[in-house]
Symmetry: D2
Subunit: 357 residues, 4 copies
Amino acid sequence: MPGNSFGHLFRITTWGESHGPAIGVVVDGCPPGLTLSEEDVQADLDRRRPGAAPGSTSRRESDTLSILSGVFEGRTTGTPIAMQVRNADIDSSAYDHLRDVYRPGHGDFTYEQKYGIRDHRGGGRASARETVARVAGGAVARRLLRDEGVLVRGFTKALGGIAAGDMDPWSADDGPLLCPDPRATEEMVRLLEALRSSGDSAGGIVDIRVKGCPAGLGEPVFDKLDADLAKALMSIGAVKGVEVGAGFEVSRLTGSRCNDVQDSAGFRTNRAGGILGGISTGQEIILHAAVKPIPSIGMEQEMLTQRGEMVRLSVGGRHDVSAIPRIIPVCEAMVCLVLADHLLRQRGQRGKPGGGS
Amino acid sequence: MPGNSFGHLFRITTWGESHGPAIGVVVDGCPPGLTLSEEDVQADLDRRRPGAAPGSTSRRESDTLSILSGVFEGRTTGTPIAMQVRNADIDSSAYDHLRDVYRPGHGDFTYEQKYGIRDHRGGGRASARETVARVAGGAVARRLLRDEGVLVRGFTKALGGIAAGDMDPWSADDGPLLCPDPRATEEMVRLLEALRSSGDSAGGIVDIRVKGCPAGLGEPVFDKLDADLAKALMSIGAVKGVEVGAGFEVSRLTGSRCNDVQDSAGFRTNRAGGILGGISTGQEIILHAAVKPIPSIGMEQEMLTQRGEMVRLSVGGRHDVSAIPRIIPVCEAMVCLVLADHLLRQRGQRGKPGGGS
Amino acid sequence: MPGNSFGHLFRITTWGESHGPAIGVVVDGCPPGLTLSEEDVQADLDRRRPGAAPGSTSRRESDTLSILSGVFEGRTTGTPIAMQVRNADIDSSAYDHLRDVYRPGHGDFTYEQKYGIRDHRGGGRASARETVARVAGGAVARRLLRDEGVLVRGFTKALGGIAAGDMDPWSADDGPLLCPDPRATEEMVRLLEALRSSGDSAGGIVDIRVKGCPAGLGEPVFDKLDADLAKALMSIGAVKGVEVGAGFEVSRLTGSRCNDVQDSAGFRTNRAGGILGGISTGQEIILHAAVKPIPSIGMEQEMLTQRGEMVRLSVGGRHDVSAIPRIIPVCEAMVCLVLADHLLRQRGQRGKPGGGS
Amino acid sequence: MPGNSFGHLFRITTWGESHGPAIGVVVDGCPPGLTLSEEDVQADLDRRRPGAAPGSTSRRESDTLSILSGVFEGRTTGTPIAMQVRNADIDSSAYDHLRDVYRPGHGDFTYEQKYGIRDHRGGGRASARETVARVAGGAVARRLLRDEGVLVRGFTKALGGIAAGDMDPWSADDGPLLCPDPRATEEMVRLLEALRSSGDSAGGIVDIRVKGCPAGLGEPVFDKLDADLAKALMSIGAVKGVEVGAGFEVSRLTGSRCNDVQDSAGFRTNRAGGILGGISTGQEIILHAAVKPIPSIGMEQEMLTQRGEMVRLSVGGRHDVSAIPRIIPVCEAMVCLVLADHLLRQRGQRGKPGGGS
C-alpha cells in the first residue's frame, strides 16, 4: 500500500509538495447530510497558518481553501470531498544551494535512498507544509464529531524544557502558545526570542485532550484506539514520542497505584487516559506528543552532499523557531480523523442483536 | 475494518480466546521458498512461555505449535501459513466469581460497552494470551528478515523504577530479565519477589533495537516506519507510551543539539533512532515502550459489578508480577512484523527506473 | 496485499491445501450477539459435500466443522470466529505421477511461474477443496443476513448445453441438480452419466438469486454492489463469466426496451437485476455465473512437464463430472459474503443527519 | 471502506461530480523515476472526449488535464500524483426539470435511498463524466506498463446486435468505432444514425485485449487476476456482464474441448483467456464486457418522482446514442489499473529465495 491515505471508513488521501502548485486532500467516507462550508475548514487552517504565533516563519500563505466536490447546496452528499489550497508564496530559488545537500534532521537522505529522486524545493513532499492537507481533512472529521458532542483540543505542555504547571487546560485562556499556564507562556516566548537570535530552535510537548468521546470506540486486537492514535501522532514529521494517560510514568507505578478504580459514578482517576483494552471508556482521552526542535536552523551546520563531500551551510529559508504551537492543530486533526474513523467502524460493526450501550 | 489483522503485504490475522480451545494466526503474504519449520516458530514461543522468568505466572502451557498450511517439504509456498496452539491448562472456574465484575485496569468494562457481550473467562480475547499468536506470526517475519540480515532484539531498560545503566544492550548477557545491567537485574529480581509477597505488580520500560535494517523502509506521509512501529507497540495491551530514538528527551533539546550530523562514514549520532522523515536511515533503530504494571494483583481491590454494585475482591487466577520480561518477545514480534511488511512494500513500489540503493 | 482475505467490514481469511492437515477460515467483523452454532455452518457444508449429487467425486469427506473462537455460550462475541475442517480422506500417492506435470486447464503452470514452488498434491491451494472455507465463512454471513430477511439461493440454469426452462426458480423443488426444471434435470443427469463413461466433463450456468435485499447497498464508484459480486463469483476457480440481470442480452437491446420503468408500486421489470448505479434497488438480485467443465478428466490428454517434455496421461484421482451442482453453495457463500460486508458498510457510513430510508 | 479508491499498491482515488467545478484523481503508489508528462495523460483523455465519434453527445469539453503533484522535472517522484480537469461546458439548468425525478435506468433512485441526498445535476457523481478520472489514472498505469512491454487495447465486438466478424483486432485499422470489421462498422454507424433520429440508444460488447502480460500476475484465492479484472470492468456504470476467454461459451463445452493444451512452444489454444488458476499464463488476455444502452434517451418515458407521482418526460440534456466507442478507453484504463497493481504486488511478494521465472 502506498502511504498517503489514512483511515478506513472515514478516509483521507493527501497530496502535494511544498513548492508545487497546490496541496490537497480527498475525504472519502464522510456521511451524507452534514452541513459543511469552506469556512468550517478554513477556521482550522487559519489556526495552523504561519505568522500568527511567536517564533513563526515569515512565509506568508493565505491558505485559502476550495471545496471541489462532495458538497451540494451546503450539505455533504456521501461522495468524496476534494479540497485544495494553492501554494502562493513560493521562493524555490532559496533552495538552490541545497539541491544536492542532505540537511541534518530532515528526510533528504532517506527520500533519496528510498525513491532515487526527490523534489528538494522546500523539502518537497517531506515539508511540514504537507500538514495543510491533514488539517483540512481533520476539519471535516471535527465537523462530524461535533454533531456527536466530541471535542478535540490540544495545548502546549512544555517548550524547550519549560513545563506548564499542572492546571486544567480546558479552563485556561489560549494565549499565544496555546499553553494554559500564563507564567510558563511568558518564559517560553522569551526562550523563542533568544533562540531566534542565536539561530537555533526548540522542541516541546503537546497535550491533546478529547471530551465527550463515547465508550466503545477501538477495534482490538490491532486497531485499538490507542494504537491508531499513536500511529496518527507519530506520523507527524516532528513527533518522536507518544503517551496515553500516565504514559511513561506507568513504568514506575505498582498495579495497586496504577489501576483506576471505577464506581457507579464513573472512574475515580484516569491514569489510563480514557482507554482500556484498546477501547474508549467514555472518560476524557489524554495524549502527549513529544515534538523535536525544528531541524532547519539559522546557524551553520556541517552537511553531507550527494557527492559525499562535507560543506558548512546555514539552511536559510523561512522557518519556525519551534513547531509549537503550529503543530497543535495538526495533532488535533489527526486525533479527529482517528475518532471519526472509529466512530463509523463502531457503527458498522455493532450488530443489532447485541451492541453496546 | 475489523481489527484482528496487522500488516499489508506481510499480514497476520489472529484469533482465539484465553479459555477457548486454541489460539492461532494466519500469515498471508509470506514470500515463497523460505525454509520454515515448526521449530523455528517454537523457539520464539518458548521465550514468551510462562514459568521461565522471575515473577512469572504459574499457568503451565507447553504452547506446542502446529503449522497447518502454507509449508510444503520444508519451504513456504506463498500460500497462507496457518498456525495454532491448543490451550491446555485452562481453569475457567477460577473466573466464575469475576463473571459480572469489571476488573480494574482491564478491558472488561469497555468490551461490555462495545460488544454488549464478553467471554469473561481469563479475560477472553483481551487476555495477554492473545499475544501467543503475535509471537508465532512474528517468528515467520523474523525468519524472512534473517535472510536480509535484519536482527530484532528487546531488552529490559527499567522495571518498577529501577533503571538499567547506559550500556550497549547487544554485548550483554541476557540474564533472567533480558536486562544488560547485571546489578540492576539483581535489584529488579528482589523487587519482583517483594511485590509477589505483597500481592502487587510492577511496570517497566522495554528497549527494542534493530540491527541491519536497510535504508529506505517506510511509506510517507502516513505509513511512516516510526508511525507503524508506534502503532505496533501501542497495540500490545500493557503498553502506554512509545519513543523513537531520543523520544521525549527531544522536547528539551535545541535543534543544533538534536540534529544528527552525517558524514561520508555515516551518522555521527543517532538521536533520530534510525528513522528520518519516516524512512529508515540504515542506522540502528531504537525504540522504547512503556509497560504498565499487571492490573491483576493479589491484593484486594474495590470493583464495580455489571449491576452497579461495589465489591472488594482479589482477582486471583495466576498472574505474572510484571509483564517484563515476557512482553519482550511480543514487542520483538510486532517490530519484526512491521519491518517484514515494509520490506515487501518497498520491494513492490520501487520501480525499475528509479529506485533506491 | 496477499489475496486470501475477502471483504472489508465483514471479512474472511482462508487457508489450507487439498492434502494438508486441514482447511480453515477466520471470520473477522461479525457483529456480536448473533446466535451461531456449528450446526448452522455444517448445514451449508453438507450441501457442498462430495457424493450427494449425480456426477460427484468419490472422495469421501465428512467435512466436520469445528468453531475454535469467537462464540461464547452460543452467541458471537464480536471477536474473530476461527473455523476448521480436517482433511480426512487424503490419498496423496494418487498424485505422485503428476508431480512434475502441468495438468491442462489447471493452475499448475501458473503457480509454478508465480511462486517457483507448489504443492502438487491434489492441486494444493488451487484445489476446489479450498472452497470449503468459503462455504463455512459464507454460512456466518448467511446467518447475519437471515436476521435482516435476506435470502440467497442458487440454481442450475444450464448444464452442458442443456438449459432449464424459463420458470421461477424459487417455486421449484430442488431436485438432485438444484435445477427448477424437472425435464431438463432428467436430460442433465443422462448427460452426466454419458460423460462419466467417456471420461469427459461438462460446464454449465448457475443462476443466483437474492430476495429481501434492502435498497442502498453498494459503494460507488468502484465498490459498486455489482462490481463486488462480479469479483466474488469470478474468484471461484471454475467461473469464466458473470452477468447481472439481463447481462450480455443488454448488448442487443435499445434503451427504450432496456430501461426498467418504476412506478409507485415498484419496478415493473428487472432487466437491471436489482442493481442501479452500483446500488441495490430493493428488487430481487439476479446473477449468472458461467462454469467451465472440470479440467480433470478421465480420458488421456497431452501434457507438458516441468522439464519441457510432452506426456500422455489421464489425470486420474477422484473428480466430479461437473462442478454443478456442488459449486452452487460456493456461489451462494460468495454472494452472502458480499452482501454482509455491504450491509455493514452501509450501516457504518450512513450518518445520522441524512441517511437512506 | 468508502468506495472511491481502486487498487492496492498502485491505487487511484477519484472525486468529482458532473456539474461541480472539476473532476480529479490521486494516483498513489506509482513507482518513482518514470518519465510522465501531461501530454501522456491527455492522449488517453482525448480518446474518451465527447464529439469525436459517431453518436456522441454534443457536450463540448476540452478536458485539459493538469498535474498538480508527484512529478518533478518530468519524472515521477514516488509521491502521490494529483491530476484534475475543470468542468467547462456545464449547463445545469437543463436538469432543473429532473430535480425530483428518478430517471429510468439511472442511479437517481438508489442514490436517494442510500444517501438521502443527491446532486441531480447531470447525474452528479453517478454521471459517466466520472470516468474522466479513471482514464487519467489509467494513463499513468499504462505508462508504467509500457516500460514492461504490456499493451492494453479495446475494440468494439458488437453494437446493437451487429457483431464484428471473427478477425484479429490488433491488425485492423481503428475506424470511427474502434471495430476491426469495416463492414460491421458501416452497419453500426447506420444504426446509430437511425437511433439518434428515433431518440433511442444502443448497447454493445467491448473486446479488451492485453499483449505482453508476464506470467505470474494474480493473487489467489480471492484477488485472482480475473476476479479483479471482472470487478474493474463491472464497476463501470454501463457494464452488465464480463467474460474471460471463452466466457459463457464454456458452459457448453466438454473438458476435453475446453482445456488448452500446452507444449514446449506454448499454449496451442486460448479458451482460458490468458488466465489459469487466477494467475496470468503469459498468453494474450482476452476479456469481454457487455455494455447496456445509454438510459438517457430522447423519446419520452414514464418516470416516478420523489413524491410518488408518475410523469412523462424526455430526459433531454446531451447524450451519446451508445456508450460505445467512448467507453473503450475507460475499459482499457480499468484493465491497465488492475495490471499495474498486480505487477507491483507480484514484485513485492515474490521473495528472493524462490520466486517465479
